[in-house]
């Protein structure tokens, strides 16, 4: 209960101001495509050079928490996820918005983010030492199976049929092999210098989601130039809260999966939302409603990606091994103040560390209050005529893409992928499995290569990948996921 004694430092006027500013800025930055949580935190770190350690960390923590939630705003309102973590949110969130339930969708998003985030931070506070040990046991073989588990859900997400989903996923996997592979020390498929650094995941995300949306908006605007994007819908805050908390199963699945994925270093928090979404759908009584505006989809995805935040700091603070790309950037923010991860962080620097963790807890409250306030007023965005909206998205897409790596090649890749996706979506192919392929490809490949080298110099390849309790559990989960998909598609066929 040591953390309770360190709340006084959080509630100073200066720190509350930082929390408020950080949360607000994080929500806005998170909603901009291209400014992923990792980018936002990385850009903030130089500002903390001149701050007190605790103040700097409070600002970074508030940014981290709120950018993850902010990415859902654009996912719901304009179908452009702010970061890869919010892809699953767009699947049902944007459909709800199209049905005139945007305010409701945003409320679910923030309430679930809050619940998941709170659970994640509490896990960080109470279970750090045992979980840090667990985190280290995930080596190349375990991470490989996690990636394979992710691949088993590719076919069922966001496309009109399983075969089309798998094809899109396969194309994504192929795209992920382009460029330099540091593991092999070789370049692959670099037939043009624009492909030198491969297809960056956020570049693909912007291209595949934002550009087709731009075309669609322009096309619709030509038909009816008075058209607004969609109606915001009535907002009944208390009803939403009550309904949200009653969706206990989706909240639990989301928070649990988010927590587990957050702890595992290298799994990439980006897949937490998608895995939680998939599991919630599979265990739902009405799996067919998903993808058509089912609140459970938003609840599971958003609780998962915010539950990931706290646990991703577990291996970072204890072992100096970040659980997510954003946590990796936070490491710099710790080091600049001489805070070295390890036991010292909780003893010698205990006051700063606990103030930081407590501020994350408080930041959850700021996020939900500001978020709910924004969702009441997000109608302002929805009243913008479609063709203005399209122009704004296009500018932000180009600007956001360039800013990731200051690379003009990225802008070209983004536009090409976007044009491709616009036509592909007409044939029922979805962008979500494609992005998932790009995310999972390197995780599967790199860990397989590492595991191959380790296995071959040990007991052999096969036994390395199939021994140990964690490997066996993950393999059975993979098989279970495939068997269940076959079973449920058979069942729905006989029902027809």
């Amino acid at each position: 209960m040591e953390f309770l004694t360190h709340f006084d430092k959080v509630f100073t006027l200066y720190h509350i101001g930082l929390l408020l500013g950080g949360t607000l800025a994080g929500l806005v930055l998170g909603a901009l495509p291209g400014l992923s949580p990792t980018m936002a935190v990385a850009l903030m770190i130089p500002f903390t050079f001149h701050m007190e350690p605790a103040s700097g960390l409070i600002l970074l923590g508030a940014m981290y928490t709120s950018t993850v939630a902010g990415g859902a705003i654009s996912a719901i309102l304009v179908n452009v996820p702010g970061a890869p973590a919010n892809i699953a949110t767009a699947l049902d969130g944007h459909n709800m918005a199209n049905q005139g339930r945007a305010a409701e969708a945003l409320q679910y998003c923030f309430i679930s983010s809050f619940t998941g985030g709170l659970i994640g931070i509490l896990v960080l506070i109470f279970f750090t030492p045992p979980l840090a040990e667990l985190a280290l046991r995930f080596g190349p073989s375990e991470l490989f199976w996690i990636a394979i588990m992710g691949i088993t859900i590719i076919g069922t997400i966001g496309s009109s049929s399983v075969v089309k989903g798998l094809l899109a996923g396969l194309f994504g996997l192929a795209l992920s092999t382009i460029g330099d592979n540091p593991m092999l020390g070789e370049e692959r498929f670099v037939f043009s210098e624009h492909l030198e650094s491969g297809v960056h995941i956020v570049v693909a995300l912007i291209g595949l989601f934002a550009i087709p949306q731009v075309f669609t908006l322009f096309a619709n605007a030509a038909e009816d130039d008075q058209s607004t994007v969609h109606k915001l819908g009535q907002s009944r805050l208390f009803q939403s809260i009550r309904y949200n908390l009653s969706r206990f199963r989706a909240l639990c699945i989301g928070s649990l999966i988010g927590t587990v994925v957050g702890i595992i270093p290298g799994a990439g928090g980006q897949i937490a939302g998608l895995v939680a979404y998939d599991q919630t759908r599979k265990t739902s009584k009405d799996p067919d409603k998903f993808g058509q505006g089912e609140p459970d989809g938003i609840i599971a995805a958003e609780s998962a990606n915010n539950a990931m935040v706290g646990p991703s700091l577990v291996p970072l603070l204890t072992l100096s091994i970040p659980g997510s790309p954003t946590a990796a950037v936070l490491l710099g923010g710790l080091l600049i103040h001489g805070l070295f991860p390890g036991p010292d962080l909780f003893s010698i620097h205990g006051e700063t560390t606990w103030t930081f963790i407590n501020s994350l807890l408080v930041a959850q409250f700021f996020m939900v209050v500001i978020g709910l306030f924004l969702s009441q007023h997000s109608g302002l965005i929805m009243k913008v005529p479609g063709h203005y909206m399209a122009a704004v998205i296009l500018v932000l897409a180009v600007f956001g893409t360039y800013s990731i790596q200051s690379s003009y090649s990225d802008v070209l890749i983004m536009m090409l992928l976007g044009i491709f996706m616009y036509f592909a979506s007409r044939f029922g192919y979805g962008p979500a499995p494609l992005v998932l392929g790009i995310i999972l490809g390197p995780i599967a490949e790199d860990n397989f290569l590492q595991g191959k080298l380790i296995g071959e110099s040990g007991d052999g390849l096969f036994s390395y990948f199939t021994s140990g309790p964690i490997n066996l559990i993950l393999i059975s989960l993979c098989i279970g996921s495939i068997v269940y998909s076959i079973y449920s598609s058979r069942k729905s066929k006989t029902a027809d």
Partner: protein, 336 residues
């Protein structure tokens, strides 16, 4: 002898040429006099938040500092960092060598041995011939580490094991053709053993493999390893002298294993070839002063970033030395 018209024409031409050259040098001299009159950029070929990006930002903090008489202490203009990551740094450095302006307003951070090794192995647009160093701020040697529960306690233990079990000793490092990989190649060569290199996902990924016991040993950054405390055992430093952060850890040479300092990760600033000599001279004089600022050094120490300030001439010598050593080392690798 009468003067014929040809020599006078030559003389005329020569005079003209001299005038032109002096006009040109005067122009550039006056150009360099005003330099720098606006903020200067530093291109970092890695992502924001990484060690190189982070250290570059700290190392250049003092660029606009003024003394008591309001005179600039070093460069006299603020420095901003811009990131062009991709392909292990090749994307950014290719851009820098080929397309960066040569007016002195765009500098870049270099990582040795990375960029030199890449220019030998890959078809890059850069090499030590078309880049001009202006100062070095840091040097992070590679160290040989094992997990805390490892049966190995010295580097000799490891070498003995590798001799008895060819191909069985797994050693992690940050990737291919980076300092850790160079150190590994040197260790395998010096001990005449067959070991297995396992490239990790960056330095952090490689450290994780060691801490989690997935590999038997690893090469990693001295700075990160020194911070890891009791989680790992540090067996040897791949440098010529012991390091102040780890006074008890011997160098490889002390242990009778011939691994020199070729793998030390040097970081500093450079400009593209074609930059005016007056600007290079200006930066070569001021940049080491900027690195030596007390507050900067304090921040560096606080973050466990090993500092080694070197001037332009020292860096040029170091680059050439590395070029020769790496060409030889990597040539054997290519034959495989």
């Amino acid at each position: 002898m009468k003067s014929n018209p040809i020599p006078s024409l030559t003389r005329l031409l020569a005079t003209g040429l001299v005038a032109a050259i002096s006009a040109l040098t005067m122009a550039t001299a006056s150009y360099a006099d005003g330099y720098p009159d606006r903020p200067i950029g530093v291109m970092v070929a890695y992502s924001p938040g990484g060690a190189t990006d982070f250290q570059a930002r700290v190392a250049t903090l003092a660029s606009a500092k003024l003394d008591k008489e309001e005179q600039p202490v070093s460069i006299g203009q603020p420095i901003y960092v811009t990131n062009k990551p991709g392909a292990g740094g090749r994307k950014g450095w290719n851009w820098f060598a080929e397309k960066a302006p040569t007016d002195g307003y765009m500098l870049a951070a270099y990582n040795v041995p990375h960029f030199i090794a890449q220019s030998i192995v890959f078809d890059t647009k850069y090499n030590i011939g078309n880049l001009e160093p202006v100062g070095n701020w840091g040097a992070d040697p590679a160290v040989l580490i094992v997990g805390k529960d490892s049966p190995f306690n010295t580097a000799q233990d490891l070498v003995e094991f590798a001799k008895g079990n060819p191909g069985k000793l797994t050693v992690s490092g940050a990737g291919k053709f980076v300092g850790h990989h160079i150190a590994f190649l040197q260790l395998a060569k010096a001990s005449a053993t067959d070991m297995q290199y396992v490239p990790g996902k960056g330095g952090v990924g490689a450290l994780k493999l060691v801490k989690g016991g997935q590999v038997k040993a690893g090469f990693n950054n001295l700075s990160d390893s020194a911070r890891a405390g009791d989680d790992i055992k540090i067996l040897a430093v791949a440098d010529l002298e012991r390091h102040e952060f780890l006074p008890d850890v011997p160098t490889f040479r002390e242990l009778g294993i011939d691994v020199d300092n070729s793998s030390v990760n040097f970081r500093g600033l450079m400009v593209p070839a074609g930059t005016d000599q007056a600007i290079i001279d200006f930066l070569a004089e001021k940049v080491p002063v900027m690195f030596g600022d007390n507050k900067t050094l304090g921040k560096m120490k606080q973050t466990n970033s090993p500092v080694r300030i070197m001037n332009r001439d020292e860096v040029i010598a170091m680059w050439q030395e590395r070029q020769a050593a790496l060409t030889e080392l990597l040539a054997t690798l290519k034959d495989e």
